[in-house]
């Protein structure tokens, strides 16, 4: 069985061209920033907080979670970079907490607290950028 389709996307191309480079850049910035906010929101729900009973000697529970940051988009030539992550006061152990799958955590908290939300949200990234472009 064979099915042939013809799809005329010239109106879509013309519409993108009509937006102009500045509007498209704004759309990319909006989309990427919103995407990273969504990743960070999911991450904040599972990032280890520390404290008793699993970390009874933790002097400042919640430091890692509070260090979660989403920076504003930055352009480098034609590449838009939007950085999110953890560190700051928790810099010494943020990576170790993320990578060590053998640590014991409280219910709902876990290692890979950034990679997993990033993977889960990845399919939505292009849609968010497209939405941003539509808004102009």
């Amino acid at each position: 069985m064979q099915a042939n389709f013809e799809l005329d996307i010239s109106p879509l191309v013309a519409w993108f061209e009509s937006l102009g480079p500045a509007a498209m850049r704004r759309g990319v910035e909006k989309g990427l920033y919103r995407h990273n906010l969504a990743v960070m929101a999911k991450s904040q729900a599972i990032v280890p907080i520390g404290g008793p009973p699993t970390s009874p000697n933790d002097p400042a529970p919640g430091t890692l979670r509070e260090s979660g940051t989403v920076l504003l988009p930055m352009w480098r030539d034609n590449t838009c970079e939007c950085v999110l992550g953890y560190g700051g006061a928790a810099e010494a152990y943020a990576l170790r907490q993320h990578e060590d799958l053998t640590y014991q955590h409280k219910a709902g908290q876990q290692a890979k607290y950034l990679e997993q939300p990033f993977d889960e949200e990845a399919p939505e990234a292009l849609g968010r950028i497209a939405d941003g472009m539509q808004e102009g």
Partner: protein
């Protein structure tokens, strides 16, 4: 299961690893058991990506999984270099691998492609006994394990 198949493969890859050995150079398909020696390696699965499905009958399994796993090695502080070299050898044995692997319970699984998520293993930590830990994460595009 993925961890079991990877552990079996690494044990046969000429790296001196022995599945379940508690004296030294044991490799385990679970996080380090209490009886594991100071020099040990373990394979730990963690959440990967959505599986790839194709049209088919009700409840047909995915045709491919995008699974992630971590290989973690530890050793005494005096053997930190040995531990790091072992991790590099594991990295070389896994990255760009396309093969069929057999688990300890029989059955075989096709692995289309394994690649390192990082470009090289990295130092993770020293534990309370001063043992050093090196680690690397991997992603496997594979058929579902039996």
């Amino acid at each position: 299961m993925l961890a079991d198949e990877i552990a079996q493969y690494l044990a046969g890859a000429g790296l001196g690893l022995v599945v379940g050995a508690t004296s030294a150079n044991g490799i385990f398909a679970v996080p380090f058991p209490i009886q594991a020696g100071d020099a040990a390696t373990c394979v730990i699965e963690y959440p990967g990506l959505k599986p790839v499905r194709a049209m088919g009958p009700n409840l047909q399994p995915p045709i491919f999984e995008a699974a992630k796993f971590q290989v973690l090695s530890r050793d005494t502080p005096d053997n930190a270099q040995t531990c790091r070299r072992l991790q590099q050898s594991i990295w070389a044995a896994l990255c760009h691998l396309s093969t069929t692997l057999v688990g300890s319970t029989g059955g075989s699984t096709y692995y289309g492609y394994i690649d390192g998520i990082q470009s090289a293993p990295f130092f993770l930590k020293q534990d309370d006994s001063a043992r050093v830990y090196y680690v690397c994460n991997y992603m496997a595009w594979k058929a579902p394990s039996p």
